[in-house]
């Protein structure tokens, strides 16, 4: 157990103590270290100007992750390695390519873009096999229109650095917890369970992609924080024939592949949650525990029949995911209890699954409506239906009337139409900045109407469309 934060910056150990634990990495870099290369463009994880790489020793390898330093608390770096734009020295192939391809205009987004592309060149988490547009989805540029940046990215080979020395140095650090001025980083799930019994008033932090904003945007004070991101026995991803079990500290990025294998729509949904930097920090359990009516994972997972395991001390209980959400801002979680894992059954061949996210912008946007459908078919009839929506009520919620309209009927255009009409009984959505109540209801219904076309190969979305070639 350490009472000081220790991490490697450019291969040198930094030891930091006596600070407010919610100091962000960005503020520390800019204000304390005078490393002003990383920029603040939004302080909420949306623009990527503050992108840095964090390296951690995992299963004998050094795994790099691009993350937003503006919503990363400094203690979350404990036991990790940090690289910033200054680490690259100015002549890295990524930097040269960005210069040669005219990838910067005002230059303010550039350090963040360089770090995202540098991550890609190292094979950092979430970049392997990803389209460059996806690697850069979390880096806004207002000047270039992105073309020159994409060209620069294409010109840079992917080639992992020799990280052996850094890895060895990281592995020297005893992997204990961290505890100082209201911050606790337990090392095991048992330790966490004990700590939470002792401090039921503490705020759990996993990836801080929600909690970080409470600090940077709402100036909320968090006197006690229990950080679960570093807990190895909560990081497990168990992939079996029946399904997937994800520990509480599994990030989107860690599970992206497995979720995509469960169903391609789930993989596509995760691709559109935040962007690389957010997926490299945010957890699926956190998305659930946060209880937001517009979180994307809950509707998808409810439709798939997921359940969660809640743990308090040594006690565990399993809850169908939809039962966790009681009301707006209210979940079935008792003091001292935490989400330990999420279990998602694998869809069967007799099931049709469709998950649709509607937002103003495709990448890195919050849903206006997120709809998920899982239909079980037998001999042309629908024998079971699970339909869930986000953005349609104060909580992620199933659509019993629409489900009832489908169950027992023949699978066809008219049953989809009936289900779509029934949605008006299930939901009376709100109007907000992401969409009006009318739009939400119409679009939700149309997601169901579109199902039939899609199932019959007459489908496609604007995302799968390509320009006419004549």
């Amino acid at each position: 157990m350490s009472d000081q934060i220790r991490f490697l910056l450019d291969g040198q150990w930094e030891t930091v103590g006596g600070i407010d634990p919610t100091t962000t990495v960005l503020d520390w870099l800019r204000q304390t270290k005078g490393r002003t290369g990383s920029k603040e463009g939004c302080a909420e994880g949306d623009c990527g100007a503050c992108t840095v790489l964090v390296g951690s020793a995992e299963q004998g390898k050094l795994v790099w992750r691009a993350v937003n330093s503006c919503i990363l608390f400094l203690p979350m770096l404990h036991g990790k390695a940090l690289r910033t734009v200054e680490s690259l020295g100015g002549e890295h192939p990524v930097q040269r390519a960005m210069v040669e391809h005219h990838g910067s205009q005002c230059g303010f987004c550039t350090p963040g873009i360089v770090m995202s592309l540098y991550g890609r060149s190292l094979g950092a988490a979430g970049t392997e096999g990803a389209k460059i547009e996806d690697v850069l989805a979390g880096n806004l540029c207002r000047c270039t229109g992105y073309g020159p940046i994409l060209d620069a990215a294409k010109a840079v080979p992917v080639q992992a650095d020799d990280d052996a020395a850094l890895l060895a140095e990281l592995q020297k650090q005893p992997h204990g917890g961290l505890r100082f001025s209201g911050w606790f980083s337990p090392a095991t799930a048992d330790e966490l369970a004990g700590l939470l019994l002792e401090h039921p008033d503490a705020r759990i932090v996993a990836g801080a992609t929600d909690v970080g904003l409470w600090v940077t945007k709402q100036h909320r004070a968090l006197p006690k924080i229990i950080y679960i991101g570093g807990i190895a026995d909560l990081s497990a991803i168990e992939e079996t024939e029946d399904g997937l079990t994800l520990g509480a500290s599994v990030r989107y990025g860690d599970a992206h592949g497995a979720l995509g294998r469960l169903h391609p729509d789930l993989g596509e949904l995760v691709r559109r949650i935040g962007a690389v930097q957010v997926r490299n920090a945010g957890t699926i359990a956190g998305n659930i525990a946060n209880g937001s009516p517009i979180g994307d994972m809950p509707p998808a997972l409810i439709a798939l029949g997921a359940s969660i395991t809640l743990r308090r001390g040594g006690e565990r209980r399993v809850l169908a995911l939809e039962d966790f959400f009681i009301d707006y801002g209210k979940q079935d979680r008792r003091p001292g209890e935490f989400v330990e894992s999420v279990r998602i059954p694998r869809p069967r061949p007799d099931q049709i699954v469709r998950i649709v996210k509607l937002s103003k912008r495709f990448d890195s946007d919050i849903s206006a409506v997120c709809g998920a459908v899982c239909l079980t078919l037998a001999k042309g009839r629908i024998t079971a239906a699970r339909i869930a929506f986000g953005g349609m009520a104060g909580i992620p919620k199933r659509a019993p009337a629409a489900e009832a309209a489908l169950v027992g009927s023949f699978w066809g255009e008219s049953s989809c139409e009936d289900a779509a009409r029934a949605l008006a009984e299930d939901f009376s959505p709100l109007t907000d900045v992401r969409g009006s109540a009318e739009y939400r209801l119409i679009a939700a219904g149309n997601i169901l109407r579109r199902l039939w076309f899609e199932a019959n190969g007459l489908g496609g979305t604007v995302l799968s469309a390509e320009a006419i070639d004549v």
């Binding site: 990383s38 100007a49 210069v99 005219h102 205009q105 005002c106 303010f108 350090p111 739009y439 320009a467």
Partner: protein, 773 residues
């Protein structure tokens, strides 16, 4: 103005050189205001802001603010020694409110604290008692109440009533056009450092250092000469830092003068978006009469904009909307009525295009409407209406002498295979159950010059040092548009030295005084010319000395490859500079430029406000989902006339960047206010500018090769900053076509509003179907 000497050094002017700051950008070593090492004792600032859109302030209890940890001082309007004004023209923007607030978020008081966090936390602790007044927050409400920032302006030519009455066809239409947040990646920031004897040095992220200098001096009861504004670079601006930067600099300056300590104001993103103005949203109506071919006979526009709570630059912005409501089309009889409505929302301001896009898009909607009604290819209607011989007078009586849009359009029509793709799209639309495509080719004609004629001037200052290094300064500011590199190219070429000989430095009001804003796409036209003149003067002096020594005429002296050659003499440029110093020749010169030919009478709205026009054309192909309203631009081909480009790499960057920004304005970028006038979309979590994947997967961008400015501008180049923004109107027009295909009723006129969010696309389809049935 006579012809300038052409560029002499290969690889400088007209070469695709990289941005001078690019190596620093990528290394993270380019310094923006917030990166400059902080001086000792620096104070950090935040505003206490109004919660009401329109109210009288009954009382302000700031005791808790003052007592909050870290707070050093709190200021109100009463603490301002001079004029409490940060407005560019009309003296109607306060640094701190006096007894009236006119928008949600308006600054009430100013907190200076030892840290950013302390200042921001304390700023929320003010106890304000308001007496709310009725607030007008929308165009409709302001129209109803008759609230304006100036009387309606009318531009007219010919007898519109008669033309409309006699036209074989006549249609009316209306649409709404949203505003746009600049979303420069670097938010507003300024740092003021007090100097000795009541002087002040301010680092600011501003497009207009001179105006800032003058306003700050006035506010602090100093003389202009006591205040120096410096800006090395901005992290994006797009018009949003033309007038809006003053608020933050004035706050920092006030605190610096009052406390004697340096002070920095860096607005966080939410505050920046709430505190500063945006592109004007418009409600546009038209009444058009036309013939069988779709040729316009008469056109009346009703352009209404939401100016916000003060004048800012709204008069000139709305004028520019009027100037562009013709776009490329000859209007035999026309009346443009422009309403500038006052609302209790943040004062809207300059944004790339400066009202031009809002005017131009109206013309394109008229084209789409006529084409829909006559069932013609909209491109044919556009071409039928182009300016041409005998059809070359604009609504403001300027003759269009340099029209090339017809040639650009024809070239693009062929290279983009417009006709074939249009046919294939129609076929697709007949078969797909719920996806619809659209394609549109739209032209751009954009007037170049500040329409306020006196602003069209610029100065430059060049020093040569005895080692041959060149210190280059001018009144233009760098916001990423590549102004500095272009001017450096121009100057290096004059001296025949490599670009590396030129030291590009910060723009400062104590080097070049009384400058105009870097705006209106004019940066290179004006400053490039002024710097060219300064360089020519110095070259003349050097050539004279060299000629004297070599015993030849000054015209025979050659400057190339860093050497100077005359007769038998062949020395380096550095040697010549050093020689000149020994010979007591001044190695410093200023240059000045004032745009010729332009004049404008605002009372009658006639004259020649522009030296020339920049042209462009774009074809965009889109697809929409008629069930969800989602849309995407699949391909775009852009062609821009930038004359003889000074730097094609920089210009291509402007074209592509402008297009994507315009696409964002018309598609994903939606500003949402609540009924009380409070902006709800004040951060990137809710305000969505394009990401990399929004860029059309196929995007072909070219500069028009035959391009050459008819006017003797600097090396016959043309302005490029703003015009490409309007190439994105092709996306909106293509979406309009896709919506029409979804409605599926020939002759139905388009109803799509902007931005074309999924919700608006669905609404337009529903409205179209309802109207057609």
């Amino acid at each position: 103005m006579s012809e300038l000497p052409p560029p002499q050094t290969p690889g400088l002017v007209h070469a695709a050189l990289v941005h001078d700051s690019a190596p620093l950008h990528v290394a993270g070593t380019a310094l923006y205001v917030d990166d400059v090492p902080e001086p000792r004792g620096l104070l950090h600032l935040a505003f206490g802001q109004s919660r009401e859109a329109h109210a009288r302030i009954v009382s302000m209890d700031l005791a808790e603010v003052k007592a909050a940890p870290g707070v050093v001082a709190v200021f109100t309007a009463a603490d301002i020694p001079g004029e409490n004004n940060v407005a560019p023209v009309a003296h109607d923007d306060r640094l701190l409110a006096e007894d009236l607030v006119e928008f949600v978020g308006q600054p009430l008081f100013l907190v200076a604290a030892s840290s950013v966090k302390a200042a921001r936390k304390a700023a929320r602790l003010g106890k304000i008692v308001y007496e709310p007044l009725p607030a007008l927050t929308t165009i409709a409400q302001a129209r109803e109440a008759g609230a304006r920032i100036e009387p309606d302006q009318v531009m007219r030519r010919g007898d519109v009533d008669q033309a409309l009455a006699e036209a074989p066809f006549r249609l009316q239409g209306r649409f709404e056009l949203g505003g746009q947040e600049h979303f420069y990646l670097e938010g507003h920031v300024a740092m003021a450092v007090p100097g000795e004897d009541r002087t002040l040095h301010v680092l600011s992220s501003t497009q207009h250092p001179s105006e800032m200098q003058h306003l700050l001096a006035h506010l602090l009861k100093l003389r202009n000469a006591d205040v120096t504004i410096e800006v090395r670079r901005m992290g994006g601006a797009f018009g949003g830092k033309e007038t809006q930067a003053v608020l933050f600099a004035a706050a920092a300056a006030l605190v610096a003068m009052k406390t004697g300590k340096p002070a920095k104001f860096r607005a966080d993103r939410d505050d920046d978006m709430v505190l500063t103005g945006k592109r004007h949203d418009f409600a546009t109506g038209f009444d058009v009469g036309f013939d069988q071919e779709g040729r316009i006979l008469g056109l009346r526009y009703d352009l209404a904009s939401r100016c916000g709570m003060s004048t800012d630059l709204s008069k000139a912005i709305n004028d520019r909307a009027m100037f562009h409501a013709d776009n490329c089309y000859y209007l035999p009889a026309v009346e443009i009525v422009s309403h500038r409505f006052k609302t209790h929302t943040v004062s809207n301001t300059a944004f790339r295009g400066f009202g031009g896009p809002q005017g131009m898009i109206a013309a394109e909607r008229v084209m789409d409407t006529i084409a829909a009604h006559l069932n013609l290819d909209p491109l044919a209607v556009r071409q039928a209406n182009f300016y041409g011989p005998g059809r070359d007078v604009t609504p403001y009586q300027m003759i269009v002498e340099d029209f090339v849009a017809d040639r650009l359009v024809e070239e693009l029509r062929i290279t983009s295979r417009y006709d074939e793709r249009r046919a294939a799209i129609a076929a697709f639309n007949r078969t797909h159950p719920y996806l619809r495509r659209g394609i549109a080719l739209t032209p751009v004609k954009f007037g170049i010059s500040f329409t306020t004629s006196f602003l069209n001037q610029a100065g430059a200052l060049i020093h040569l040092y005895t080692d041959g290094s060149i210190h280059l300064n001018h009144g233009g500011t760098e916001m990423g548009q590549g102004l500095m590199i272009k001017v450096a190219q121009i100057v290096a070429d004059v001296f025949g030295v490599p670009l590396s000989a030129v030291r590009i430095v910060a723009t400062r009001t104590d080097k070049v005084p009384n400058t105009s804003a870097t705006a209106a796409s004019s940066g290179t036209d004006l400053n490039g010319m002024a710097a060219f003149e300064a360089a020519q003067i110095l070259r003349g002096r050097l050539a004279e000395l060299m000629a004297f020594e070599a015993g030849c005429e000054p015209e025979e002296v050659l400057f190339a490859d860093g050497r100077v050659v005359a007769g038998d003499l062949d020395i380096t440029f550095a040697e010549l500079c050093s020689k000149a110093h020994m010979a007591r020749v001044s190695l410093s010169a200023t240059g000045f430029y004032a745009t010729p030919k332009i004049h404008y009478d605002r009372a009658s709205h006639t004259g020649r406000p522009f030296l020339y026009f920049s042209y462009g054309a774009a074809v965009s192909e889109v697809v929409i989902d008629t069930l969800t309203g989602e849309s995407r631009t699949l391909r775009a081909d852009l062609l821009a006339d930038v004359g003889c480009s000074i730097n094609p790499a920089i210009d291509l960057g402007q074209v592509e960047g402008g297009f994507i920004q315009g696409m964002g304005w018309l598609t994903t970028e939606e500003l949402v206010y609540d009924a009380k006038g409070k902006l709800l979309t004040h951060a990137p979590s809710t305000y969505k500018i394009p990401t990399a994947s929004d860029r059309p997967p196929i995007l072909n961008v070219s500069l028009w090769q035959p391009g050459k400015n008819r006017e003797p501008t600097i090396h016959r180049s043309k302005a490029v900053g703003e015009p490409p923004f309007m190439l994105a109107i092709s996306v909106w027009s293509a979406l309009t076509q896709a919506v029409a295909a979804a409605v599926g009723k020939p002759g139905a006129v388009p109803t799509l509003d902007a931005p074309a969010t999924p919700e608006r696309i669905l609404a337009a389809i529903a409205a179209g179907k309802a109207a057609a049935s």
